[in-house]
Amino acid sequence: MTASAEEPKRTPLAGRHLELGARMIEFAGFWMPVQYSGVLAEHRAVRTAAGLFDLCHMGELRFEGPDAAENLQQLTTNDVFRLEPGKGQYTLLCNERGGVVDDCLLYRLGPRDYLLVVNAANTDKVREWARARLRGRVTLRDESSETALIAVQGPRSQTIVGRALEQDFSDLPSFWARTVHAHGAAILVSRTGYTGEDGFELYLDAEAAANLWDRLLQVGQADGLVPAGLGARDTLRLEARLPLYGNELTEEISPLEAGLGFAVKFDKGDFVGREALLAQQERGAARRLIGFEMLERGVPRHGYPIVHQGREVGWVTSGSFSPTLEKEIGMGYVPAALALEAGAEISVDIRGRLRRARVVEGRFLPRP
């Protein structure tokens, strides 16, 4: 840390985290809770009941105007024209080489009104990247600092969010969002998440965030809601095999290599990176993201080498003890040519010792 390093930013909920005894760390320029009671307990609460997350660090970029859709169609890999008002989609921004600039959620809030939710560490980069490419009648506003984001994730989340906002959300499908008014605040309620569980993400004015947080904790207590930090968020998303920007995704890795081809719509017309991605699609991606479980004890960590038949062939992108499966799991890149299918054996070089692992297809967890 240098003397000129900026102080981490505080979210509107920072005071609550301190009162709750959270352990705080700097993450993407923000002072964020990594855990409250403990990562394992918080993880299990989300799988069995519900967890409450402060995601105010995430970036919110608003695109409005008659040409907003056309512009986003050009900037993102998924098909923006398929979005009806109220619907969201997982999408990616790619550079000209087909590498991932960011992975995001894009909502269509109104006919000419879109909200792009980006990773905290990428907010400034994406804003400038997008701004430099905008054409025609569209405005881009960075609403990150005035927008709060609170997530409720877990099998009890519908009950808890419904009770807190005095509304029924049983009719809100996955990846849809609607704005409700409750306790003096307008809240965009989205049925999305990053844990592999049913869940909601709630966007609202930063000033109203602490009230909503308190209300959720209060009404959720009976259903087992606990505050959960970034530690549990990471193990939860890993078990659900969801990619993390900076680990599975970088500017040097394409969505096709990462197994995210479902969010790349070649048939929609031109977009940034299309040419490179199409070429890669035609010749076949050289690398492939695999999931694996350890057959011998040891925790695979980001950057550890993956070894196949005595040869280093790739690297671990994420790995951890899985609290649900009670064994170590991970993801990593290997050459596609090795055709490592489910059950294939690999090794992970854990600090100089080779530990056996087995390739696993799909999510590590059964679907809820």
């Binding site: 855990q35 530690g231 960590r301």
Partner: protein
């Protein structure tokens, strides 16, 4: 939190003098709290020769990997293999069932140079 009869290191290990040249070693309450939930412990092998300051074990929590250093020189004579299946013992009982290894010291006088409980508490700012 920091028993008086133990010796401590600045790297957050504790050492308990037992019969003769034997010293039982583990990590402190402060260390286990900083680590968070311990999910894996890589243990040394009984018979290994170790020198003071050398890494003898690795303790992994969900988010971190930490080396555990030998507080004294000697030979590992016993390891806590219960940690292989119950790494959480380090969190639950760091000075008891969460011990890591027993070292037969080359020179029992070595332990005199380690920190007392009061000195360790001052080191971690809890004095």
């Amino acid at each position: 939190m920091y028993p008086e009869e133990l010796k401590y290191t600045k790297e957050h290990e504790w050492l308990r003098l037992e019969d003769g040249r034997l010293a039982r070693v583990g990590v402190t309450h402060y260390a286990q709290h900083q680590l968070g939930d311990v999910v894996f412990v890589e243990l040394p092998a009984a018979g290994d020769a170790v020198s003071a300051g050398q890494s003898i074990a690795v303790v992994e929590s969900v988010k971190s990997v930490s080396d555990i250093y030998a507080p004294v020189s000697g030979r590992i004579v016993e390891v806590n293999s219960a940690l292989e299946d119950q790494p959480e013992l380090i969190n639950e009982d760091p000075y008891g069932r969460g011990w890591i290894a027993v070292i037969e010291m080359d020179d029992p006088g070595q332990a005199d140079g380690l920190l007392t409980a009061a000195e360790y508490k001052a080191h971690i700012g809890e004095a």
